[in-house]
Every structure is written in C-alpha cells, then in structure tokens.
C-alpha cells in the first residue's frame, strides 16, 4: 500500500517542472545586476575584452610596429587615431594589441595562480597532518621571497621570453596568496560535518576535496581571483615600466606607459602614454567593482537584495 503510493508520487514527478532554487551563480548574477556600478564595470570589461581581441584579429602587427621615419611623434590625426611614437608607429594599434597582451597575461597569470593555488591549498588543507606540514614549509619559503626582486632577476635570466614564459615566471611567485587562503578555508571545511559525512558515505577523498569542499570555497576563489586579476594587470605594467617586462615588439599597456619615463613624452606627448594609463585605471577600477560585487554576493550579510 505504502509502496504504491510512493511510486505514484515519484512517477508523477516531472523534474523539468520543478522550480529550481537559485544556484550560487544566479545569486552572483542577481547581485551584479542590482549594483549598477558593477554592472557598468562588467559591461565595460566585456566590451574592452571583446573589442581588443576582436579588433586585433584584423590588425596587422607587422604594420603597426613598422618604423616610419617620417611619422615620428605625430599627434593624433585621422590617420593615426592616437598619434605615433618615437618610431613612427601607430599608438592606437599598439594600444589595442597592448591591451590584448596585458589582458592575456592578466588572465593567464590569474588562472594559473588560481589553479596551482587552489590545488595546493585544497590538498594541504584537506589532508592536513604531515602533508600539510611539508606543503606549508614549501609555501612559507615562497612567501619570504621578495617577489618583485626575484621576478626581475628571473626576467634577466630567461633568454627568450614571450607572453607564456613571462606569465609562468609571474605565476611561479604569485600562487601563494590564494593557496594560503584556500588552505585555511579547507582546514575549516574538512572539519565540518558534511565533509565527514561524505567520508562515511564512502566517497573517495579526492572526490570529497573537489566535489564537496571545492564548491564551498568556490565563491572565495572567484572573488580572490577577480581581485587578483586587477593586481596582475597592474604588476605587468609595473614590471614593464621598470624595464623588466615586455620588449617593445610585444606591446603591452606597460610598455606604452614606460614611454612616459622620457620626460618629454610625459609632458608633451600625452597621446602615447595617457590612453594606456586611463585604460589601466579603468580596467583595474572595473575589475575591482565587479570583484566587490562578487564579494557581497558571496557574503549573505552584505547582500543587497
């Protein structure tokens, strides 16, 4: 009798008709939609990203970096929307390619540090004990390294660097922050009953780690990575500014900015560096706005809706 009832109810169940409760992603989305500033920032970010990646498909890099002796330091005009630099090269084209390169590095470094940091942090935090101990010693060592200096030394060593190798160098010394954060969070999480429960249910440890604990730290990861993205874009430009970033043939926002080290350029040829400066400023501001909105979304106390 009872069984039959059950079956009926169960069979009448049509999963597509059930109202899904909002998931984490949709909560985040809702929060961003509520926050006009974050929304504008997000739109701006998406716009810039699509534009630079899109336009750069149609740009001929060789053409942009072509030296034109008779167009040196041209102010903006209809030919050169943002003028030219000291090699007679189109600044607008360099800005597009440069933004693309800077974003690519930002994304790459953020993703790679995220990946390494999360895996490292989760492993250390979740397994704890000796594994955690050893891993934390490794992490401690990386943390005491004076980041900027070590990267500068590394950049002087690597003979042939490209976007990839540069990102790898940055990543090698930037993953610790997120790893430490995730570890301490994982240490807390693994003591919670749901993780213990999973153990009693026979779920393998790695599955608990990635299937159960990871979703619970995911919001933290997203927020941290977003804010890291802004920091990484800034770091790239800083290193290029010091002369330890990219060579000119691989333009980035930092190389454009580093032209401002020449006082004449700083004072008289604003079109070379100022657009890059403004773009960096707006990019970092936008990323941060989105990041702050995400932070609120993941913290129920601060949520606005």
């Amino acid at each position: 009798m009872k069984i039959v009832e059950t079956t009926n109810a169960v069979e009448n169940l049509n999963i597509e008709n059930i109202n899904k409760s909002p998931s984490g992603v949709s909560i985040i989305w809702r929060e961003i939609m509520r926050d006009k500033l974050a929304l504008i920032s997000l739109v701006f970010l998406l716009l810039v990203t699509t534009l630079v990646y899109g336009i750069s498909l149609f740009l001929d890099l060789d053409q942009i970096v072509k030296i034109d002796l008779f167009a040196i330091h041209e102010p903006p005009s209809s030919d050169f929307w943002l003028g030219t630099d000291y090699g007679g090269r189109d600044v607008f084209g360099q800005l597009i390619i440069g933004t693309r390169n800077s974003l690519t590095i930002g994304f790459l470094v953020t993703l790679m540090t995220g990946l390494i940091g999360v895996t490292f942090g989760l492993t250390a935090g979740f397994f704890g004990g000796h594994i955690d101990n050893i891993m934390m010693r490794v992490l401690d060592f990386f943390i005491i390294l004076p980041f900027l200096m070590i990267v500068i030394v590394f950049v002087s060593i690597v003979p042939n660097y490209s976007i990839i190798s540069f990102s790898l160098i940055m990543t090698a010394f930037l993953w610790m922050g997120i790893a430490r954060l995730i570890r301490s969070k994982a240490l807390q999480e693994r003591e919670l009953d749901y993780a213990q429960a999973s153990k009693t249910l026979g779920t393998p440890r790695w599955k608990i780690m990635f299937g159960q604990v990871l979703p619970n730290v995911s919001s933290l990861i997203i927020v941290t990575m977003t804010l890291n993205l802004a920091a990484n874009i800034g770091l790239e430009s800083g290193l290029s500014f010091l002369g330890f970033g990219f060579p000119e043939e691989t333009p980035s926002l930092g190389t454009l900015l580093s032209y401002a080290r020449n006082p004449q350029t700083l004072e008289n040829r604003w079109w070379i560096w100022m657009p890059a400066a403004i773009l960096i400023f707006l990019l970092m501001l936008s990323v941060r706005n989105v990041g702050e909105a995400l932070k609120r979304a993941t913290d129920a106390r601060q949520r606005r809706g």
Binding site: T6, V10, I18, S21, L192, Y194, Q196, A197, S218
Partner: protein
C-alpha cells in the same frame, strides 16, 4: 557471532609542543571501552560532552583513528587494515547538526544520491526515482529534490540526513545526537520516525546522546561513559531502576519528571544523590578522577567499582 563488538577501544590524541613541536603528551579521549550490540537493537551511549561517546561512534565508522583495541562488525575486524573488507556500505551515520552535515552548495538530490553514486551504478532516471522514493520514505515531498538544504527546517534537514543514511540499506546506523540540535517539538517526531524505519529496515542503532531521557526512550541497552571510560552498562530497565554507580545515579536523578505530583519526591531524591556523591566520590573514582574497570554485577549489568577486598 556478535553483530558489533568493540573490545578495549582506546583513542588518544597527541598534544604537541616544545621547541620542535614534538608529541609531549596525549589526551585519552577514549580509554578502554568494550561493548557489543545485537542486530536489530538500539544501544544507547550516554555521557556528558567530552566523555568520549562521539569519539567512540566516529571511530567505529572510521572518522577517528583508533589507537588500540578492536572493532568487530559481523565478525570482521574493522581495525585490521590489511584485510580490506568493505563494510562502509553497511554502517552509516546520522550527524548531530543537520545544518552543517548537509553540503550547503548541493541540491537535495546530490546529497541523497551521494552514497548511491559511490556504490551503485544507476542511470540518471533510476537515481532520481530512488532519491524521490527515499524522500518519500522520510516524509518529505519528492518535489523538493532540486532544493538546497537551507530551504528546509531543521527537522526536515535531519530527515534528509536520514534519507542519505538509509540510501544504501545499511545494517548499522550510528546516530550521533541526532535530535539535540532540534526543537523539542520536533525531537519526538524524528525519534519516532527513526523507530519506525528501524522496524521497517531491520536497522541496528548505536544511539549517542547526552540526554538520558531520550536514550531511555530509544534504547534496549545503555552504556554510560565518563572521561573516556565506561562507568556502567546494562539493560535500559536495569540502569534506570537500579543504578549502581554514583555518576549514573546523578544522571538518572537529573531527568525531569513530567508528573507534577512527583516533584517533591524527585527533589528529595536529587538531594540525597548529591549528598552521596559528595561523600563517596572517592569510592567511585580513582586518584585521577577516572572510573575503575567494569565489574559484572549481573549477566547484563556491569558497573565500574573498585575491587572490594
């Protein structure tokens, strides 16, 4: 062959310190506990917080490392790592806190289906059917399988926890304070429900609680722990009618009686127990304040009392 047999179980946690963070001492959370449970019965494990009852339960299911001692389940030694007998499936646990024991980021279907996914190969459809069935069985609407835990009340959550625990049709369920986080009004519901499914599925419970009243309601046999050691063990009836150890007496005396007419009697009884406790504390505990070894005083009743001359 006994269904579950625990022999001289010891669980010690190291205390680290000093310059090199070496182990300098240990906390004896569980220190020589033995008991056994018959299939289909409920065994109540009682003690104040910190007495080691939860640690014992968690050790049986493998959440805590056992320092020494043996645990036999249907004749298999669970502490023997060389023999890979997978009894996980047969032993499940219900957790104390229905808020933290369910992963807040998972939907009900994922929570309840987790054990099924580990042990049974089911198609999506079968799995959904099974989960809905389980929900139905614990008295929840199958419609709620796509909800998140935070959308349920405490009692409902504990039912989800139970649904998860019974999904694999286990033989033994370790219920660690299953109702202490719930409102009193809900407690009875859940307890009765647990009794129902025990009959229906022929479950064995190891029922861990600090509340002697609830244990009395649920258990066939009771073990009372204090500071990691047993002070008394016996049939529920014996424990309540004839408590031998002063600690047990205090616990029994502390159970509130609902009948207002007995209030005065209860008060006097409590006072006398208190007096006895103060006077004869050293008769019941050794110098370190720990209980002595158990001694049988009847077939089914044993008490931790010093050997008398």
């Amino acid at each position: 062959m006994e269904f579950l047999k625990v022999e001289d179980l010891k669980i010690h946690f190291p205390i680290r310190g000093g310059l090199l963070n070496r182990k300098i001492d240990s906390v004896r959370a569980v220190d020589g506990v033995s008991f056994s449970i018959e299939q289909g019965k409920t065994y109540g494990l009682v003690g104040e917080s910190g007495s080691g009852k939860t640690t014992t339960g968690r050790a049986i299911i493998g959440l805590n490392n056992i320092t020494s001692g043996k645990v036999f389940f249907e004749g298999n030694d669970l502490t023997d790592n060389s023999k890979k007998v997978d009894v996980r499936k047969d032993i499940q646990m219900i957790f104390q806190d229905p808020y933290s024991s369910l992963n807040p980021k998972k939907r009900v279907i994922d929570i309840v289906a987790e054990p099924l996914r580990n042990y049974e190969r089911l198609t999506k459809k079968e799995e959904r059917y099974k989960v809905a069935e389980l929900l139905e069985k614990v008295g929840l609407s199958p419609e709620s399988i796509l909800k998140y835990p935070h959308e349920f009340s405490g009692g409902q959550r504990q039912r989800i926890g139970i649904a998860r625990a019974i999904a694999l049709k286990p033989k033994l369920i370790i219920a660690d304070e299953p109702v202490s986080a719930l409102d009193v009004s809900v407690q009875a519901q859940v307890l009765n429900f647990m009794k129902d499914i025990q009959k229906e599925l022929n479950l064995t419970y190891l029922f861990i609680s600090h509340d002697l009243g609830i244990v009395k309601h649920m258990s066939d046999e009771i073990g009372i722990m204090y500071k990691g050691r047993y002070v008394e063990e016996g049939k529920t009836e014996e424990i309540f009618t004839n408590p031998q150890h002063i600690y047990t007496k205090r616990l029994v005396a502390a159970i509130p009686d609902i009948n207002p007419q007995n209030r005065e009697k209860q008060k006097i009884f409590r006072q006398s127990v208190q007096e006895e406790f103060e006077q004869s504390y050293h008769d019941y505990f050794d110098e370190e304040g720990l209980a002595y070894n158990l001694r049988n005083i009847s077939n089914s009743h044993s008490v931790a009392l010093p050997e008398k001359g």
